[in-house]
Each structure stands twice: as C-alpha cells, then as structure tokens.
Symmetry: C2
Subunit: 224 residues, 2 copies
C-alpha cells in the first residue's frame, strides 16, 4: 500500500520533470541539480563559481530550503536572478516546485540554472527534477565512508565536488578508501577537489560547468 | 490526498512508538535517538562515550543506516550488543523497525539504548521512535546556520552535541550567530561542545547520559 502510493508520487514527479526537461531544452539552458548533506558547501560553491562563470555566461539559481531565505539572499548579493523554493518542512525538492521556480526565471536569457537542493543526501537523489545532471558536493569533514553508506546519490551523480580539502590535514579522511568506494559505485563521474574557503579547484569546477552549458546549447541546436 | 496518506503513516508510527516507549519504561531503559547530518560524528561519539559509560552502565545500540553494516561493526568492536537496522534506501528510522531491533537486544539487562538514526536532519525529526529524548549532533564544519534552516530537529532535541570543536579555528563557524539562532528555537536544551578526535567534552556528554539513565530508572520504579 505504501509502496503503491510512493510510486504514484514518483510517477507524478517524473511527468513534471519531463516537462521541465523539455522547457529547459527549448531554452538551451543547462540545469544542474546540486545535492549534498547540510553544510557541505553548496551555497559557498555557487558564491565562488558564479563570478567565474558570469563574465561569459548568464546564470540563474533556484534555492531549495526547508526554511529561511538566507541562501537566496547570499546568491542575490551576486547580482544574478535567484528564486527561493521553500519546502516548508519537506526534505527534498520535487519537479512541480522547480517548475514554478523556472517560470519565475528569465529562462530565455540564461545559459545555466543551478538548482540547489535541500541539504540531504538520501531523499533528493530519488527525485528527478528535469535537470541535465545531478552534481554531488561532499565535505571532507563528513568522512570518506559516505559513498558506501549513501550509494544512490553517488551512483546517480555526473560530477562530484569534494569540498573543504583545506581540512584534509585536520581530519581522518582516507582518500584511498574514499576513491575505492566511490569508483566501485560510480566509475566515470569526475571528482573535482575544491576549497571554497581558499579558492582552490574552483576554476576546474567552472570548466566542468562550461562543458555542461556547451552540451545544452548543442542539444538545443539539434532539436526540431 | 498525499497529506492524508502521510498522516496515516505518522499515526501508525506513533502507535508503534508508544509500544516501544512502554516496553522501554517497563525495562527501565533510557533510549536516546541520535540525529545528525551525514558525517557529523554520531558513531564516533558512541565510540568515545560507551567506554566512559560501560564501567557503570550496560549499553546497547541500534545502528540505523541506508546501506552497509560498517557502523555496527565499529560499535560491535566495543563489546556491547548492537543490532544494525537497514532501511534499504529509506531516509529515516521508523518505530516498527526499532521495535524489531529492541526485540533482538537483551533489554532487561540494559540501562541505556542508543538509537543511531540515518544521517539526515530533515526526516528523522518527524518520526517518534518511542525514545526518552532526541539528541542532536552538529559538526562545526557544517556551519552556524543549521538551527535556522532545519528548525524542527533543533526544536525537538533535548540536548545538542556540537562536535569537531577542534575545527573551530579552521572554519568560519560564528558561535554568536549560532547561539542566537539555536536559543531562539530551543531555549533550554543543553549545548555540549565536544571533539571526538581530541576527546574534549566527552565526560560532560557522559554525565548528561547518566542523568537520562537515572531518570529512566526513576520512572520505572514509579510505574505500577
């Protein structure tokens, strides 16, 4: 019974996600769904990478949170269009709420939309939002055992940003165990090591985002 | 429609939680529901505090995880009874699964049962497991803004362990903002600052657990 209900929710979500995907493709916009645990640094990553991108690309942001508009205020300070999506207790973003957010953004004037999900590495991995790619963010402080313990997200993501590498010397993070576990679950997604505090690695992440933008443009040019 | 279904799930959970609570009270066992984001240090906290407690108290552990038995193996190495509760994708523990775990523990011979929830600070806060208290664990590395952004958990918890205080000098954690936000949501729960890496503060947390154990014994003595 519960399973059937959950399937209905996921099917309804998938339909809304497909609509989002079509809308984004028509506009030639790359949508990147950022997923991490609370405090891994999704907003800090955007604060760092948006200035690198916005010299050449037009960026929009949907900020998902359970409560408060703090993250949207941080992103708004960068001068890019941002919409706060409040789940009011909900533990993940769903495609229908993202559709409302996309309708509020000037999509035809954008190249990339970052969708910052609720801080949670369990539930958000289950819900397609219509994005081009899920991007995981993991903080060194969370420990090297997370890919094995939360396999769905680490399997689904198309790139993994390992943040707070400035803390590697102050934690017991074991890079060898981490890489073995991560590659066992996801053999191909690039691992991009960054520190949003020191600025290390941000150019590499910006370059990955630029690739995603060019792919979305190429797909839009090919579509009927 | 979805709301009604969710209410049914929560009502069924509450009934199972009430049964757990009665069973624990009859046995005079304090059950503590540990909730945190992934990698905040719940298992590390148990690895540190169980040796402090087990000279005088008998400890049992239920280890909740989405996948793997790694945490139960870490706790089992301490020589205390531990049961791994696997949700197989589920983002939180529910009371019915905890009931199965309690049935496998030698409850009548225990003083305290730690229930380590799935790493997630959204969903687990919504589900009563029949515990005496929810105990939150927050890592300094997650940032000072978490109480405002995840208000339900910080409102519900009876004690908050702030872990990884050895990283305070290596992060931008603002203790004043944190305390203002936390006390706005929860004026009374003690804040216990620890570092599971250096050992700082663990005696204080052990003393808080001992209080909870003595309260559970007192309640059992008073019950008919």
């Amino acid at each position: 019974m519960e399973i059937r209900v959950l399937q209905n929710i996921l099917e309804a979500n998938d339909q809304a996600a497909d609509q989002n995907r079509r809308r984004l493709q028509e506009a030639g916009v790359a949508a990147l769904n950022l997923i991490s645990a609370p405090g891994a640094g999704k907003t800090a990553l955007l604060e760092r990478v948006i200035p690198l991108l916005s010299t050449r690309y037009r960026v929009g942001v949907l900020e998902g949170d359970i409560a408060t508009t703090r993250d949207a205020e941080r992103i708004g300070a960068l001068g890019v269009p941002v919409i706060q999506l409040l789940t009011n207790g909900g533990c993940h973003l769903e495609a229908a709420l993202v559709a409302q957010g996309l309708a509020e953004l000037p999509l035809d004037g954008l190249d990339v939309v970052f969708i910052e999900n609720v801080g949670n590495i369990a539930c958000p991995a289950e819900f397609d939002l219509g994005e081009a790619a899920k991007v995981g963010v993991l903080s060194v402080a969370e420990g090297h055992d997370k890919p094995a313990k939360y396999p769905l997200l680490f399997h689904e993501l198309k790139a993994l940003v390992l943040n707070k590498v400035d803390l590697l010397d102050h934690t017991d993070f074991d890079m060898d165990v981490f890489m073995r576990d991560f590659r066992g679950i996801n053999p191909t997604a690039p691992l991009i090591q960054v520190s949003c505090r020191t600025g290390a690695g941000l150019e590499e992440f910006a370059a990955w985002v630029e690739q995603a933008i060019e792919q979305a443009r190429g797909a839009a040019a090919l579509s009927p």
